[in-house]
Subunit: 306 residues, 2 copies
């Protein structure tokens, strides 16, 4: 309970929706900085079709070029067996699959039904057998779907169950469009941790409605110790207009460190990396600590003070 | 525990630091909208010297002009007995006094020591006797001072004790520059509620480092049911460079309502009022729900979906 593992998703979840293609060497430099900060895991890219996500068309080059540090796992998103093959050829430590709990979101975002998605994931899991590569599955819209609204908890639990049945090693519950609230988060996290105490569950929040850190706090109170987060709060969802970024890594690390919870991350290194982002992506980013400084920042008293 | 009282501070704490003077009739219109939303209490202005805070030089005109609704208390900040006299002449329901727990912040912000401040507050409290007007005292830097850092909890408790001794009716603990974290908030709130169970305590957070809603959640978990908040997240502190706004009223209301906690506030009315702010102050404001819509907002599926 007093240690967190953070999975940095900015290079994948963040950069994929930027209007600008970030050059391969800049991506590598970003990932290398992130890996120097002590983050446990970095989702470095996605092996999707270059047509679907042109921003990540250099997935293989990026992953082959990044410095591999002991203790820092490199993970990549893979949508299908072809993607998995490409990821394994780059010697990733983990792969992240994705399916959506909501039928509508699945059709819009993945262009198939959840059942078809599950079949596809089963194929991927099969390819991982004996490789030693960890297979994680992310469940989109676990806290609500922008088309269908809040889904019954039983629907999410049934997706978790199906994924565990096909043999995934870990599961990420994603608040894809920032609909989750702390009470709902507490309930679902407690339920899954009670039901599947051996499964590593990760929580993935967006700050769309300002609740990102409150939801992370609530998940942690329920016993969750693994979080996805995105440097600078980069990210969003192209199918949910109005949605702003993922929960911001440095703000998340800052909050938990201030609370006395160890993240293993050197916040100064992370803040320096975050400082590079506006140049890299061409716009301001939502992270707050990088602008305000850490809570223990001291100011000089004005000269005219009494 | 399942009902909140929200004290809206945008007309005072928000507008006081804006670069633009908001016209008296615009202030009145804003306060009238806020009071239609069901907020329990509105801090409408400040009876400070017009030289110190020119933006609020029309305090008396504003308060005399606003519609008084039953169930909505109009409160005003007063720095001294002269200010209190002016406030009472406008028939306010409550007055809010302020002192700083930190010696340095007190000298910079109030231009006196905490002891001098306490003397001044005692004079104000004396004037309220027999008037039926509630006298609240806000303690600045209760969760840390930008010049001195985190203060010992005993120092805050001793300020609370002194204020209760001189006869204030309620106390607001202010995270003036957004230094608080949820663990610290939980501890201090539990302590004051245990020590002084009969005193109405209000919590005042800033979102400077993104922790505003997480801190509010933590305070509520400790048993706090009264919060200051600012429409659109307007506000800040002129002596703490880098500090962004107060916790945003509509985002706070949205989070708690989503959790099933009653705020008594009509969020749609509040969002409409928030939508007026960019024109009123001449810039974008930090509130998120007004941009993203409520969590139960539904989107149509794209036409090309499978």
């Amino acid at each position: 309970m007093n240690k967190l593992e953070i999975n940095e998703v900015a290079p994948r979840d963040g950069l994929q929706i930027e209007s600008r293609f970030v050059e391969t060497e800049e991506k590598v430099r970003l990932i290398n900085s992130l890996s120097q900060s002590g983050l446990k895991r970095i989702e470095a890219s996605s092996f999707t079709s270059p047509k679907a996500i042109p921003n990540l068309r250099d997935a293989a080059e990026v992953i082959k070029a990044v410095e591999r540090r002991s203790g820092v796992l490199i993970t990549a998103l893979v949508p299908n067996q072809k993607g998995c093959e490409r990821a394994l050829a780059c010697d990733v430590d983990e792969i992240n699959m994705v399916m959506s709990a909501s039928e509508s979101h699945s059709r819009v975002n993945l262009r198939m039904t959840p059942e078809q998605s599950l079949d596809q994931l089963q194929g991927i899991v099969g390819m991982l057998k004996g490789t030693g590569v960890f297979g994680n599955a992310s469940i989109s819209t676990a806290f609500g779907c922008p088309f269908e609204g809040f889904l019954p908890e039983s629907q999410i639990l049934s997706v978790v169950e199906s994924l565990l049945k096909i043999g995934v090693d870990g599961i990420t519950l994603c608040d894809t469009t920032g609909m989750a609230n702390p009470a709902q988060v507490r309930r679902l996290c407690e339920t899954v941790l009670t039901e599947w105490p051996e499964t590593p569950f990760t929580l993935h929040f967006h700050n769309t409605r300002g609740m990102g850190l409150a939801n992370a706090l609530s998940a942690w109170q329920a016993g969750i110790t693994r979080f996805d987060a995105s440097l600078g709060g980069l990210g969003g969802c192209p199918y949910a207009p109005g949605a702003t970024g993922n929960v911001c890594t440095e703000d998340l690390v800052h909050m938990f460190e201030q609370m006395g919870v160890e993240t293993g991350v050197d916040l100064d290194v992370l803040l320096a990396a975050s400082g590079m982002l506006p140049d890299l992506v061409g716009h301001d980013v939502p992270g707050q600590v990088v602008k305000a400084g850490k809570a223990d920042r001291r100011y000089s008293m004005p000269e005219n003070s009494v």
